[in-house]
Amino acid sequence: MNLEFSDEELAFRETIRQWMKANVPDDLRRCTARGAMPGKEMQQRWERLLGKQGWLTVTWPEQYGGPGWTATQRYIFDLERASAGAPPTSPFGVAMVGPVLYTFGSAEQKDRWLPGIRSGEMLWCQGYSEPNAGSDLASLKTRAERHDDHYLVNGQKIWTTQAHWADMMFCLVRTDSTVKQQQGISFLLIDMKTSGIEVRPIYSIDGHHHLNEVYFTDVKVPVENLVGTEGMGWTIAKFLLTHERTTIAGVADTQNEINRLKAALAAMPDNYDKHQAARRVAALEIDLMALEYTNFRTVAATDEGKPFGPESSGLKIKGTELQQSVSQAMVELGELMSLPWDNEEPIGNEVFNRASRRYNFLRACTIYGGSNEIQKNVLAKMLLGL
């Protein structure tokens, strides 16, 4: 057993650290330090920079342009990225549709779509949820009818993060309503500029626009945008659920949040109860340590080429709970300074002024991608055989 990074890994870390120091844009760094989320331009500028370096699609196999890193290197990269004040990259292209394409796509599809994802030029969004198909995704109703060389898509998606930014959507649609629910679903790539698509914003309780409703009215999608075969959509969706878990727990960003909180607390005046605050932070750090080492186990297993072990099953549940706890602690420890919502001049430490927006935003993290309750249902069945 050995819990230290090897000399090679330490050298790798140093390389990444230096690069981040030199390359994370100042405005992005400031944005993260305030606890804010970057807008489209700032986010994409950063992702293009990574793309140019070949470090955007770090999980991809080398043959598709991945850097050929080990899971440990990817984990180190994520830690350094977060501690340098850069946000996580948008998952839809890099972590979701990319792996689907190189796994299930045709040669033409790979050639056509992978380069834009790799370079950060092309932005994607995910069309899964529908108003009546949330936890029960398989009951989705958006139809795609085959007409010669295209599908005609009608229906509605909801909770579509960054649909207003995206060039393309990957989408689950129903191509057959005569078979068992799961079997009639297909995986389709849709150009967001196609006529018949309407994107309506949904404002989140952090006051920002991340989410959208997307309406499809007789939207023509070329048949060559079907990934795999008709009816394969559910299989592809499930494939994504078990893909790459080495950073799903959010350890790097949670660590960064705790660091921001500790720095803010250190600057509090003498009449503030630092002792009590320190105990609360310590409890969170201890929880993070348990998550971190569980995550390390998954990383190490990945590097040995093993499938994800049982240790990885709780990474998302524990990770999201901890993100919420850290965020709640930041709001509550900020006391009165957490109440201002849109002040221009900082009041006390600005970290606290912005904390409640993030706290609001993070209520969603135990809901999206399969709520934690749904995850537990699945684990009870798959893992415990109940």
Partner: protein, 371 residues
């Protein structure tokens, strides 16, 4: 022991509920969120005419002699309706402080507040003093004041602001014309408006000083307990709505071919919320009576217990309400997220849980000494 509301209180609550139903709605709330100033002339006049401005104050001050239970009946309904009209911030809060100061000058201002003729806000918090309202960080230098007061609720539309400052070891409360302050306006977590006031070498005349020393300390301390109790009332109104809406949603929202309320885990979540709501109601009734108690330590013990309890349990209800609603719960379009913000806000205004647990321990030690 008797937990029944008086007939009078019941009428006040019913009136408030009916008034808000007729004059306020989630749509009104959402458009009010966008306003720079939350003083809506017609509703302000209506509240004045309903007698709410005089309700919190003794008849000797020109009020109608309502107690905290009566006032809380309105605040609770306002919480349930997400109403942002600054009844507490520009009437109850400054009014109670002026009443407790109880000098001819303060009572004269109070009279104007009750009559709807003065817009007075309270600026008792500043950047470095946390929740310790009897020891503000703003200091008088000779007859000059320089510094800031923060998170002054609806301070942007007041004419006068009641401000606390230290003069040596002595607490002062001053009534300052807002026009002599520099103002930065912003919104708060609950959607309310607030201001930071910057005092730049402001010359303090004797007439501005309403009271000092022990009188000031007792007035601020009584005001703090009163406001804490109203925070609880507002949170209760909001939390009970979260529960009702969530229960209704669980009954009607279908997933996997059945109502989500038929899943045992959701059922247990809802039962926990229901039981907690009952306990919150008990704590509210308790604090509404005890927060006006004569004994300072008994009063502090009760309000700090209630506020600490609300800060964990009302917040928990709001979080669970969102979780059970799923995606729709985190959008601006549904009221649930707004209740969540309101409750989070109130759990931190006038003392966080950590602060009140400490204050509870101190107050209890004082109670024990008396026994």
């Amino acid at each position: 022991m008797d937990f029944k509301l008086s007939e009078n209180t019941t009428i006040i609550a019913d009136t408030a509920r009916r008034y808000l139903k007729d004059n306020y709605s989630f749509d009104v709330y959402r458009s009010q969120l966008q306003e720079a100033d939350h003083l809506h002339a017609a509703r302000w006049q209506a509240m004045l005419e309903l007698g709410w401005f005089g309700l919190p104050f003794p008849e000797s001050c020109g009020g109608y002699g309502g107690n905290l239970v009566d006032v809380a009946a309105i605040v609770r309904e306002a919480g349930a309706a997400l109403c942002l009209d600054p009844f507490v911030d520009l009437v109850v809060s400054p009014g109670k402080l002026l009443e407790y100061i109880n000098t001819p000058e303060s009572l004269a201002i109070l009279e104007d507040v009750i009559a709807g003729q003065a817009r007075v806000a309270c600026g008792l918090y500043d950047r470095h003093a946390g929740y310790q309202v009897t020891r503000p960080s703003l200091r008088l230098n000779g007859d000059r004041l320089s510094g800031q007061k923060h998170v002054v609720p609806d301070g942007g539309c007041a004419e006068t602001v009641l401000v606390s400052a230290m003069n040596g070891d002595e607490l002062l409360i001053l009534a300052l014309p807002v026009e002599q302050c520099q103002i930065e306006r912003y919104r708060l977590l609950d959607g309310g408006r607030a201001a930071s006031l910057t005092l730049d070498d402001l010359e303090v005349s004797d007439a501005m000083i309403l009271c000092r020393g022990e009188v000031a300390r007792q007035a601020v301390s009584g005001w703090f307990d009163y406001l804490c109790a109203l925070d609880c009332a507002r949170m209760y109104g909001a939390a009970s709505q979260v529960f009702q809406h969530t229960l209704e949603y669980a009954r009607t929202r279908k997933q996997f071919g059945k109502a989500i309320g038929s899943f045992q885990v959701i059922q247990h979540y809802l039962v926990d919320m229901f039981i907690d709501l009952q306990q919150l109601e008990s704590m509210l009734l308790m604090v509404l009576v005890k927060a006006e108690s004569e004994t300072v330590s008994e009063r502090a013990r009760a309000t700090s217990a209630a506020k600490a309890y609300y800060a964990s349990q009302a917040v928990r209800i709001a979080q669970q309400g969102i979780q059970i609603h799923g995606g729709v719960g985190v959008t601006e379009e549904l009221n649930i997220g707004h209740y969540f913000r309101l409750i989070t806000h109130c759990s931190l205004s006038h003392g966080s849980r950590d602060y009140h647990v400490s204050r509870f321990i101190e107050a209890e030690a004082a109670v024990d000494e008396q026994v």
